[in-house]
Symmetry: C2
């Protein structure tokens, strides 16, 4: 009997369930954690995220022949980092959002103090999770150290946190296209690039393979962000789980603001093609899922 290859939707669903299940029990057995903290961390982890970054870790690992199981600790780690960043971004002193994906934000449910600490806890625990990759058969200590180092670089002051600072300063009307690009690169694309490279490292990727994954990730990450800007303007509010035009209302500069809608859409197309080219150059044995993901993201509506 010939079995049909799962569609990209099925693949994404499978990975999402696998990662979700692992995150459900993110705190090891026997750890003494105050109940409110554990609840607060879990609330945001299980709040309906798309699991994009874990998907990229796993897809990259599998594209180079590693197992899904080997990639899971790092997949969970990156989702914890992404989740902590959302908790902190929503805080009153930051973006001051009461809702995210249609649900009350962490600090609205648990109070600001617990939310700050839940974010801190998730960021810290992400590094614990990443280290567990070294317990997987076939994954070397040196590779896991490289993954930990890169997580710190891409999530840190010259990466995601730096991007977030630049974004905040941008809200004071200081943004030109160059600064906008810096913000997109660091606030969003860096963690996406990390996810792909880390997945590669789980599979003991060569530098050529890491380079291909990095190029794919840079292009995809920027496309993702421009697509976000476009959807914020013209997306379906029910699907997005939030009101549109929030960027405009906040006076926030975006790609459509600078380039116009047509040129922004064209840029998303161009970047998606670029991403796919990067992983079909020959260094990646099985890039099919990476190509599927690029198309999937291109066509998303939320």
């Amino acid at each position: 009997m010939h079995l049909a290859k799962p569609s990209i939707n099925q693949y994404i669903g499978e990975i999402s369930e696998l990662v979700g299940g692992r995150l459900e029990s993110f705190l090891p057995e026997g750890w003494e954690v105050p109940e409110s903290l554990a609840k607060s961390m879990k609330y945001s982890l299980m709040a309906g995220g798309k699991r994009l970054r874990p998907l990229l870790v796993i897809a990259a690992a599998e594209s180079l022949g590693a197992s899904r199981e080997a990639a899971l600790p790092v997949a969970c780690a990156v989702e914890m980092v992404h989740t902590y960043s959302l908790i902190h971004d929503d805080l009153p002193a930051m973006d001051d959002d009461d809702f995210r994906r249609g649900k009350p934000t962490n600090h609205k449910v648990f109070g600001e103090a617990t939310a700050i600490l839940a974010g801190d806890g998730l960021l810290t625990h992400a590094f614990y999770s990443a280290v567990q990759a070294a317990r997987q058969p076939g994954v070397k200590a040196e590779e896991v150290l490289a993954i930990v180092e890169e997580l710190a670089v891409y999530a840190g002051p010259s990466g995601m946190v730096g991007g977030q600072v630049a974004d905040m300063e941008g809200e004071q009307g200081l943004t030109d296209l160059q600064r906008l690009r810096f913000i997109h690169e660091h606030k969003t694309a860096d963690l996406i690039v990390f996810s792909l490279k880390a997945g590669g490292r789980i599979a003991a990727a060569t530098s050529a393979q890491l380079s291909a994954l990095e190029t794919y990730g840079r292009a995809l990450g920027l496309a993702f962000q421009i697509q976000d800007d476009i959807l914020d303007l013209v997306g379906d509010e029910a699907k997005l789980g939030k009101k549109t035009q929030s960027d405009v209302k906040q006076g926030k500069v975006t790609y459509p603001y600078f380039l116009g809608m047509e040129a922004s859409r064209a840029e998303v197309d161009r970047l998606t093609r670029s991403a796919k080219e990067a992983v079909t150059g020959g260094s990646i044995p099985n890039p099919e899922r990476l190509l599927d993901i690029a198309d999937y993201l291109l066509s998303r509506d939320h």
Copy 2:
């Protein structure tokens, strides 16, 4: 010519200068970090800390024959973690402090958003710093991974962050002596224990040695916290850099509150003796500095 061994004060001064100099240039050459973020992180790193935790990392490493240089990356890492925790602790939603050690707190100088992100940046960069230990000759990748894992455990939701949550909940009048001990163990002692064990791991400590350092650290860490409680009641305000009786005014329960001053002082003495016994059992070749440090902390007045 016979050279006198440096006094404990000289030793502490030397280590403090060495660590301070390294922290001064904590961001690697060439890293693109928004200026406000870099300034905010540096402000708190260079705000006059005692460098106790780095001291313990280095003293533990040296007690087992490792070099100061080998221990420095991890010494810097733990000071970054300690510093991030102070920035976040001082935030309006948390302890809401305008001053620390006589200087304006981070958020008073840079604004709350930048302070939150500076804390996040320091926590993340601490892990980058810890990984650099693996570039030191003689330090194995597996040991550095163990250090990274322990940093995440001791600083995370079942460690320092958990202790901080419990402390906050304690402020709602729910504290008994058992909870107070939990708070002291996790909010403060965990990072101290981490510092000593990590210093040990830099020197490839045996499990007996790690165990001795852990026992020393547990006792010292608790003594340190009780001493803090005592100084808050009766210390010299000028030396402390803050008003005394702040715990009483906040209705905060402390060891002197539960046990009385005499019993609390006796407990500090007992724990200090315990700590010293732990490292003079024979497993630690050169425990002298660890003993000096225990006495030094016992006699401190700020």
